[in-house]
């Protein structure tokens, strides 16, 4: 138990953790800048003279750019819908007392417990029936629905934390309900919207299960789903594989390094109070 009083011990825990986290990532990036033929000779050699050919192969050799674009469209579209719908519903549930409002909130909460994965079969058949199978819009709607319960819950919490005097003051000044929401309240719940955005967007960007089931056309595939195709194509060309993985990971890593505080808050929302 002496160990627990030792500051060097904690310092070394964090250093070892950092090494274990960063080494594989460094290996990934380093290897993406080496020619595949170099691996068998020296698996650990540093890419002193970066070889960019792998990236050219990734970018021009296949569907990679269109995978990225699809992921951007699907994540962006879902995020847009989630933001609008969760702000609206969160506002109403936090601010209006009406018959059944408790019931609606309870309904939203149970929605948080239903994993989209287990409803995949009926969803598949339903989307097919609606003509939304193999469609980016269909996927956007499913993602929106899956993220909405938590998003509404988070937003209604933020609306509830604002003083009611704001509403009365705006109404006395003649603001309509929508003006009150748009001009007065929304600017004040922006931190909540940031949390909702990160909480919803990261799992959507990273997901490959729903695209795997719902998207078949090669030109509609998302980046994470596309990686599985890509990995089959280039199985023996490690340099190209690593370049593909690096490119797929890069957008989020850069955003994370800029906004790490918001990312950590957003992704642990629900598990951490306040």
């Amino acid at each position: 138990m002496k160990l627990l009083a030792n500051r060097t011990f904690y310092q070394s825990v964090l250093i070892i953790n950092a090494i274990l986290v960063l080494t594989p990532i460094f290996f990934l990036i380093n290897s993406s800048l080496r020619e595949t033929s170099e691996f068998s000779r020296s698996p650990f050699g540093l890419a002193r003279n970066p070889y960019w050919g792998n990236y050219t192969s990734v970018w021009s050799g296949g569907e990679f750019p269109s995978y990225l674009l699809n992921s951007l469209i699907i994540t962006g579209g879902s995020l847009f819908l989630i933001a609008i719908l969760s702000v609206g519903a969160g506002f109403v549930l936090a601010r209006y007392q009406f018959r059944g409002s408790k019931l609606v909130l309870a309904f939203v909460l149970t929605g948080m417990l239903i994993p989209a994965k287990l409803a995949i079969l009926p969803l598949f058949i339903q989307l097919k029936w609606m003509g939304l199978l193999d469609s980016r819009i269909g996927l956007i709607l499913v993602y929106t629905s899956a993220a909405l319960p938590a998003a509404i819950f988070i937003m209604s919490g933020f609306f509830r934390s604002l003083p009611l005097d704001l509403d009365s003051a705006a109404r006395i000044d003649g603001a309509s309900e929508l003006q009150l929401l748009r001009r007065v309240l929304i600017p004040l719940v922006k931190p909540g919207m940031a949390i909702v955005a990160i909480y919803s967007a990261i799992p959507i960007w990273n997901d490959f299960f729903l695209p795997l089931v719902f998207l078949q056309s090669p030109e509609k595939k998302t980046i994470m789903q596309g990686l599985t195709v890509f990995f089959g194509q280039y199985a023996s060309q490690w340099g190209v594989l690593f370049a593909g993985l690096t490119l797929a990971a890069l957008p989020l890593v850069i955003l994370y390094l800029i906004l790490s505080e918001q990312f950590i808050k957003g992704l642990t929302a629900g598990a951490v109070k306040g």
Binding site: L14, G88, F107, G111, A119, I120, E177, F208
Partner: protein, 306 residues
């Protein structure tokens, strides 16, 4: 005032703002979830629904050929839950406590600790697959170089090591999550308790065991419940690394993979079985729901208030 108890313009705003969101949830979450339940009560041929057969699909889960598979994957999910609780949650707590104790560079360390959590499991899976490649992977190369020849195993290809290796990769990706949750819990604890104990001559070990750990119970409850849900719905990593059949030889098979195969069919087990698949979906949902509810109730009872 309208019937609902709202002023007219509020009534209109409520309809306009609330209904689209609720409708989306109903249409794409609630209805499909309830439909899964109804699917499990019918006989199916491919995607064509047949007669109502009551609970037959549920009973078939416990008969040949599903029975052995069902109990095997159930065992795998249970083992994964236990292993994750011990190693991932344990290490998460250690890292959280280290972050709590170390002041210099805390922000940078925190950013690094959480970094893997933002990686897609597809990327994490493929990255580790190459790192662990039996012939060219750097990990086995190191093991060979330092003379640990017996340790240079085909980690993901051997039925004995495949599942533990997946648990390890899962740990690499996830450990930052409990760490941050525990850190938030530690930061929420009133420092005066710790100071008072220290003045009374308590050792660091006593402070951790008698004060910090009991007060961390709410964080532990949340992590346990989330781990339970994650372990019994485990799909992405096993699918990326072992395919839908849980290779090698079913060693990494899980409930969710079995559900996927039953739903959409697979290369070797052939046609799908929507009825039994839906029944399994309902079973998974029940396990997860009951486990989470029971766990949070039991654990919450031993939480202490400050």
């Amino acid at each position: 005032m309208s019937k609902s108890g709202l002023k007219r313009d509020q009534h209109r705003a409520a309809l306009f703002l609330l209904v689209p969101g609720i409708l989306t949830i109903v249409l794409f979450t609630t209805v499909p979830a309830l439909t899964t339940l109804s699917y499990s009560l019918f006989a199916w041929v491919g995607f064509q629904r047949g007669d109502f057969i009551g609970l037959d699909n549920f009973l078939r889960l416990f008969e040949y050929p599903f029975r052995d598979q069902f109990f095997m994957v159930l065992r795998h999910n249970t083992l994964v839950f236990i292993a994750v609780m011990i190693f991932q949650t344990g290490l998460g707590l250690l890292v959280a406590y280290a972050l709590f104790k170390v002041v210099r560079g805390r922000r940078a360390y925190r950013t690094i600790v959480f970094l893997p959590v933002i990686f897609s499991l597809v990327i994490v899976g493929y990255m580790w697959q190459t790192l662990l490649d039996p012939f060219y992977g750097p990990i086995n190369q190191i093991l060979l170089k330092v003379g640990l020849t017996d340790w240079a195993l085909p980690w993901l290809g051997d039925t004995r090591t495949a599942l533990p290796t997946l648990v390890f990769i899962n740990l690499w990706r996830w450990v930052g999550f409990p760490a941050i949750v525990f850190l938030a819990g530690l930061n929420a604890i009133n420092q005066e308790f710790i100071e008072a104990a220290r003045i009374d001559g308590a050792s660091e070990g006593q402070i951790f065991r008698k004060i910090l750990f009991p007060l961390l119970a709410p964080s532990l409850t949340i992590i346990t419940v989330l781990t339970f849900i994650g372990a019994f719905e485990w799909f992405d990593l096993p699918f990326v690394l072992g395919g839908s059949n849980g290779s090698p030889a079913g060693a990494t098979d899980t409930l969710a993979l079995m559900f996927y195969r039953l739903s959409f069919g697979s290369v070797d087990s052939g046609a799908n079985n929507v009825g039994v698949g839906s029944a399994l979906g309902v079973v998974i949902f029940t396990i997860v729901g009951l486990g989470a509810a029971l766990g949070s109730n039991l654990l919450r009872r031993r939480e202490v208030e400050m």
